[in-house]
């Protein structure tokens, strides 16, 4: 398993996990699925489901802190900026420092380069928001969101799962 093969999988996740429609009910179900999955592995996480203009869902499991809230908010902004899953961006960058190029003039307090934010793509519209988790390692944050999105779309929890490290 290589970075290249991971990148290919994540790109395919993103291009195929596409909603026909997305609304408040689906956001709630998505958040609920992530919470249940986190509880099942004893994970202390925060999960947020955001449209670009507003929050649709926010939840936490025991052990999560305000730091997780901040990570979630900063990871969402990276998806809005790049239109990529934040873990895709991480994999692309390799060992480069986890800071945006200074010429972009974007503050690290607003943008986190870390996996766990997955775009919400609606057919015919594009990326309308993101679902985000913080609390596990970044690959697991990404996967727990990917799995919940896949379930919501009826593709099954293991659809295009990344291999375990």
């Amino acid at each position: 398993m290589t970075v290249e093969s991971d990148l290919k999988i994540v790109a395919e996740q993103q291009s195929t996990l596409v909603f026909d429609r997305f609304d408040e009910d689906m956001a709630f179900e998505l958040g609920r699925l992530v919470r249940e999955a986190a509880k099942a592995i004893g994970g202390a996480v925060v999960v947020g489901v955001y449209l670009w203009d507003r929050t649709l869902f926010f939840g936490a499991t025991a052990g999560a802190t305000d730091a997780n809230r901040a990570w979630v908010e900063r990871k969402v902004k990276l998806v809005r900026l790049t239109h990529k899953a934040s873990y895709h961006y991480v994999l692309e960058r390799g060992d480069k420092p986890r800071l945006l190029d200074p010429s972009w003039a974007l503050d690290a307090k607003d943008y986190a380069i870390a996996g766990g934010a997955f775009p919400i793509t609606v057919k015919g519209i594009g990326i309308v928001g993101a679902a985000v988790v913080s609390g596990l390692d970044e690959r697991s944050d990404h996967e727990i969101v990917r799995s919940a999105v896949a379930q919501l779309l009826g593709k099954g929890a293991d659809y295009l799962a990344l291999p375990k490290l």
């Binding site: 507003r54 926010f58 939840g59 802190t65």
Partner: protein
């Protein structure tokens, strides 16, 4: 039923609705109850559960807008500062308008006097957060919050319930 009756009832609600414990799972449970009740009633609301240091739950239903979370934030700030239900602040104030006089230093951008935010009080710990709804009339925002908390605590609101408004 008068403003005084409402005030008296809300003080009793605040005394009765005290949590033996509170955590992320309870925040979620109450959030889900708020959501289920709102769907049943056809209410387009947002509901928020937070402790003073961080958010624990948020949800929005169809019909709510980007304006609602700003109301939630400002109502919860009012609860945090004055340590009472925001609807009690509404009923107790002696001036017109839904903002504080300038000398209070409670800017309208951050604090609003509007009902719908109820304190999370934990026995032995005090007031640690707030449960807030926005989207209805402020008296109903308050009512639906209280109606979601009471069953969790095994409390029959009964005589503590705010009666329907009469015209």
């Amino acid at each position: 039923m008068s403003k005084q009756d409402d005030m008296r009832l809300i003080i009793e609600q605040e005394k009765a609705l005290v949590f033996p414990e509170f955590d992320e799972a309870i925040a979620f449970k109450i959030g889900v109850a708020l959501r289920d009740n709102a769907i049943k009633a056809g209410h387009g609301i947002v509901a928020d559960v937070r402790t003073w240091d961080r958010p624990l739950f948020y949800m929005a239903l169809p019909g709510s807008t980007g304006d609602n979370p700003n109301w939630v934030r400002r109502k919860a700030n009012t609860v945090q500062r004055l340590m009472k239900s925001s609807y009690r602040v509404v009923l107790e104030k002696s001036w017109d308008g839904d903002f504080f006089p300038p000398r209070r230093g409670l800017d309208n951008m951050d604090f609003v006097i509007a009902g719908g935010s109820f304190p999370v009080r934990v026995r032995g710990a005090g007031m640690i957060g707030a449960i807030t709804v926005s989207g209805l009339h402020e008296r109903d925002d308050h009512r639906v919050v209280v109606e979601a908390i009471a069953p969790h605590l095994g409390i029959d609101l009964g005589p503590l319930a705010l009666p329907p408004l009469q015209n």
